[in-house]
């Protein structure tokens, strides 16, 4: 949503190298550089991160609640995708 405060952005912070970038909030900014600087000043004031992504909120494509059943339920019965589905004989060690 764009208004006189500038477009809305999504902010993702990586806490430590190797960890995933986690969504931590939003902000308004008028350009990319400002969005990045504002994210730094807003969301890493207490040493919360070491790397940042900012993405215009308008670029986010989201699933909707109506999709919940068709998107996510079919995966619930694919128990063979989980390691606990399989029995491993004793004595063969960790697998």
């Amino acid at each position: 949503m764009s208004d006189s405060q500038g477009p809305l952005w999504e902010v993702f912070v990586q806490k430590k190298a190797g960890q995933p970038f986690v969504h931590c909030g939003n902000l308004h900014a008028f350009d990319k550089e400002m969005a990045l600087q504002n994210a730094r000043d807003l969301y890493t004031r207490r040493g919360e991160g070491m790397s940042l992504w900012v993405v215009p909120s308008s670029a986010i494509v989201a699933s909707s609640p109506e999709d919940m059943g068709s998107f996510f339920e079919p995966s619930n019965d694919k128990i063979f995708r989980h390691p606990t589905f399989y029995q491993i004989p004793d004595g063969v060690g960790h697998m």
Binding site: D3, G6, H28, F30, R45, P65
Partner: protein, 312 residues
Amino acid sequence: MEINFEELFESKLAKNDFIEPKDWMPENYRKHLIRQISQHAHSEIVGMLPEGNWITRAPSLRSKLVLLAKVQDEGGHGLYLYTAAESLGISRDEMLDALLTGKAKYSSIFNYPTLSWADVGAVGWLVDGAAIMNQVMLQRSSYGPYSRAMVRICKEESFHQRQGYEIMTHLAFGTAAQKDMAQDALNRWWYPTLMMFGPPDVESPNSENALKWRIKRETNDQLRQRFVNQTVVQAEYLGLTIPDEKLKWNESKKGYDYSDPDWIEFKSVIKGNGICNKERLMARNKAHKEGEWVRAAAAAYGKKQQESQVAA
């Protein structure tokens, strides 16, 4: 199969699940949340002013740094809350417009003046102390973005009350003039702070729905009582007197009996008759107006940047 959205919504509430922005929600729930969250955001933003009043006069370099960081945090909290409200489909512009034209409410406590350095201490100790009780409860509110904002805010707020109490400690154990300053601040801030929890339960028009929807989880009176109970011992440590002759431990309710604040004054300040109501709004309007060309310039520059990228 038709999904019954209302049932889904109710069942989520019943299971203590969170409601997310795209989920179906009753219109009243949405409206109530927009009102509550934006008021909360406005309170943070207007709340920068009374304490900000002392930034240039903070009496030591350390206290200056701390106060500045604290006032900045409040701005940040306002921002988290504005974006949480935006997820419900209202724009920052609309919310700011409501604040600047005086249509929206914010916490009345900020319409009281900060007259001495001790007031900065009292605001941190009492006002933030009261705010934290509310905020801790709101971390478990049913609306996801609100709850997440509150988790973040609570984490950051934890130093605010302490810095206020630290100021009070220095004053209460300092010179006679400093101790007087501290007592005077407590005298002036005690009842306005009790008002922060809102009108008594019997008169609170919005509480019932708010509790049902888990936007609130405890009543005004419950929170107020808890605040009094925890504050008495803190005042005693400082050697300061809470300005309430009726204040007395009540064994049967395991809490203190206390005098009600002046609810007529409460309503009057909400209506705009506090000594600072006009100044606070004027200050916000001034900053907004003087920032207009800055935002316009940034918008124009941002647009040019985007166009040159597309062209390149």
